[in-house]
């Protein structure tokens, strides 16, 4: 802390006078400080983390609101908070091994994680080696820490599950073969049948028309275009159907398994934390290094992924419905219908001798 800021602080507290130039200078100094720089860098990881502690940290960072500071006192209090947050926003301080993510936390080992014990932060490695605490104290601290990690995971998942259940806005029953798609499939089957019948027709005249033996270019080309569109329509329908199948399957699976069965989620969380507890206690008792990766203890990322997916579907309207494939499928369906029906009509007219 600079001495000159003490002078302005005392003046402000006693007389109520705030020197604007001193305040601006102080804010610039704070923003140029190592602590602020470190905090801003750390916050990127904090934002990316799904840990509840990380969420709290991010809220504290957001509350700093440096641009709204209007007194020397506020600036110095904010600076104290920045100094604190810069320390506790380091990755190892908020990482929850039960929610570790492969893309972010791959380099962390269990020994690097910091816990808050006896009023200060200490890594698990230093805690294990410390002679200041008994084995019993260490064991109790580990149990307490795992319980808080478990609570973090549980509260996060349960609150989302409960929120979705309480306010189901977009949780429709999605069917892979709904009415529209069923009609489209029927039409496709009809047209495919007509194409096959046309190509391999037992009727000589139809066969000759299709294979252009009358040199009736117009009908031939019309039919060829229709067949092409029908073929493309088939392709898009199959692609769309496959995508929808996967999306709807995931959605229905997530909805039934996860949303409808919180107890299963709870028991799986308990299994994950028991595994972690067993590892830490064994290392502690046998004085083994804590070299396991944090990813080894992460709770089933699929379940977390399902819950996040359902959240976006329900609250953000990101429904697995429309996409470009859907649009292309409809375009070619329309073209197939137009050209197909037209060529069919012309073939019939030719056959009855009108053409």
């Amino acid at each position: 802390m600079r001495n000159i800021d003490k002078g302005y602080l005392l003046d402000e507290i006693v007389t109520g006078n705030t020197s604007q130039s001193a305040l601006n200078n102080l804010i610039q100094w704070i923003e140029a400080s190592d602590a602020y720089d470190e905090l801003v860098r750390n916050i990127e990881d904090v934002k990316a983390s799904t840990s509840l502690y990380a969420l709290i940290l991010y809220e504290k960072y957001y509350e700093l609101a440096i641009e709204e500071i209007s007194s020397i006192e506020e600036a110095l209090v904010a600076y104290a908070k920045i100094l604190y947050l810069a320390q506790v926003s380091r990755k190892e301080c908020f990482i929850n091994p039960l929610i570790a993510e492969k893309s972010i936390d791959y380099s962390f080992k269990m020994k690097d994680i910091a816990i808050f014990y006896d009023s200060h932060l200490i890594t698990l490695e230093d805690f294990q080696k410390s002679s200041d605490y008994t084995l019993k104290q260490k064991g109790e601290a580990i149990k307490e820490q795992i319980r808080s990690w478990e609570d973090d995971l549980t509260s996060k998942l349960y609150s989302v599950i409960d929120e979705i259940k309480e306010y189901p806005r977009n949780m429709h029953n999605l069917k892979i073969l709904n009415v529209r798609r069923s009609i489209e499939l029927i039409l496709l089957v009809i047209f495919d049948t007509l194409v096959i019948l046309a190509l391999f027709s037992p009727f000589q005249k139809v066969y000759e028309i299709i294979h252009n033996q009358y040199e009736l270019s117009f009908i031939f080309y019309l039919t060829a275009i229709a067949f092409t569109f029908i073929g493309i329509w088939n392709a898009f329908f199959i692609i769309e159907f496959t995508i929808k199948f996967k999306q709807y399957h995931k959605y229905n699976y997530a909805k039934n398994r996860v949303l409808g069965n919180k107890e299963v989620v709870a028991s799986e969380i308990t299994k994950a934390s028991e595994k972690l507890k067993s590892y830490l206690e064994t290392c502690l008792l046998k004085n083994r290094p804590l070299n396991a990766s944090v990813l080894d203890f992460a709770f089933d990322q699929n379940v977390i992924g399902y819950i996040q997916f359902l959240y976006y579907v329900n609250f953000r309207g990101k429904h697995p419905r429309k996409n470009k494939i859907f649009l292309m499928s409809k375009i070619f369906m329309a073209l197939s219908l137009v050209f197909g029906i037209t060529s069919f009509v012309f073939i019939i007219l030719h056959l009855v001798g009108r053409l």
């Binding site: 001495n3 000159i4 800021d5 003490k6 507290i13 007389t15 006078n17 209090v77 104290a80 100094l83």
Partner: protein
């Protein structure tokens, strides 16, 4: 003491009283004398009571300053307050002297609290009973000295001088607003700011002026920031 003459830093004294009155001017030389076997032998022969008191004091005192201050009153019990070149006729003069130097601190004036010389003098003179309020206040400041030396030093100055005017760099300020307006000046702000915590003079004055809550708020904020800075540096 008619057959002996005491020499102290070139001066000759023919009475113990006169010798006692001058000890404060030459403490180092006096200390050598008071602990020399020859002097003690002479004292024992001529003034056995004084000798006993001096020996007892020598055993009880742990600090040089304390020993010298109290020793002089063995030879002259009714002197005014004298210490390391300073002579004060009353408590107010001590207070005025402390404030006169502000925001600088005189280490010898600090001895009055550090070695509890003032309360010991008051007890010797019976002032602890005659002036109980001020005696109690000085006792409190002696206790505060162990927590915050400089603050208790300047508070002593204000208590003894019974004045709430701050004398800062040879200029007197009666009210708070006037003081801070002056300290905001570019030629004052840097020096004044650097001395706030170090000297505690301004904080003591504000306390005397009834701004205790404001002083506490200032101290809380500064302590918070400095604690976080230390913690951050140690990470």
């Amino acid at each position: 003491m008619s057959q002996y003459v005491i020499e102290l830093e070139g001066k000759l004294f023919s009475s113990w009283k006169e010798f006692g009155e001058n000890i404060y001017l030459h403490e180092d030389a006096a200390e050598k004398l008071l602990t020399s076997p020859k002097f003690l032998r002479i004292l024992k022969d001529s003034e056995p009571e004084m000798f006993k008191k001096l020996v007892k004091l020598n055993h009880e005192s742990r600090e040089f300053q304390e020993f010298m201050f109290l020793a002089q009153y063995i030879f002259n019990p009714f002197m005014n307050i004298r210490h390391h070149g300073y002579s004060f006729n009353n408590l107010k003069e001590i207070g005025d002297k402390i404030l006169e130097f502000g925001p600088e601190i005189d280490v010898y004036l600090k001895d009055f609290l550090k070695y509890k010389l003032l309360t010991k003098y008051m007890e010797m003179m019976g002032w602890d009973l005659q002036k109980p309020i001020i005696y109690k206040k000085i006792k409190e400041l002696e206790h505060l000295f162990s927590i915050n030396e400089n603050k208790s030093y300047f508070l002593l100055g204000f208590v003894l001088s019974q004045c709430d005017i701050i004398r800062y760099w040879k200029r007197d300020y009666v009210n708070i607003e006037e003081f801070f307006i002056s300290m905001r000046e570019p030629f004052n702000i840097v020096s004044y700011s650097s001395l706030i915590d170090k000297s505690q003079y301004v904080l003591s004055w504000l306390t005397v002026k009834g701004q205790l809550d404001q002083v506490k708020k200032y101290e809380d904020i500064v302590n918070l920031v400095e604690k976080m800075e230390k913690s951050y540096d140690k990470r």
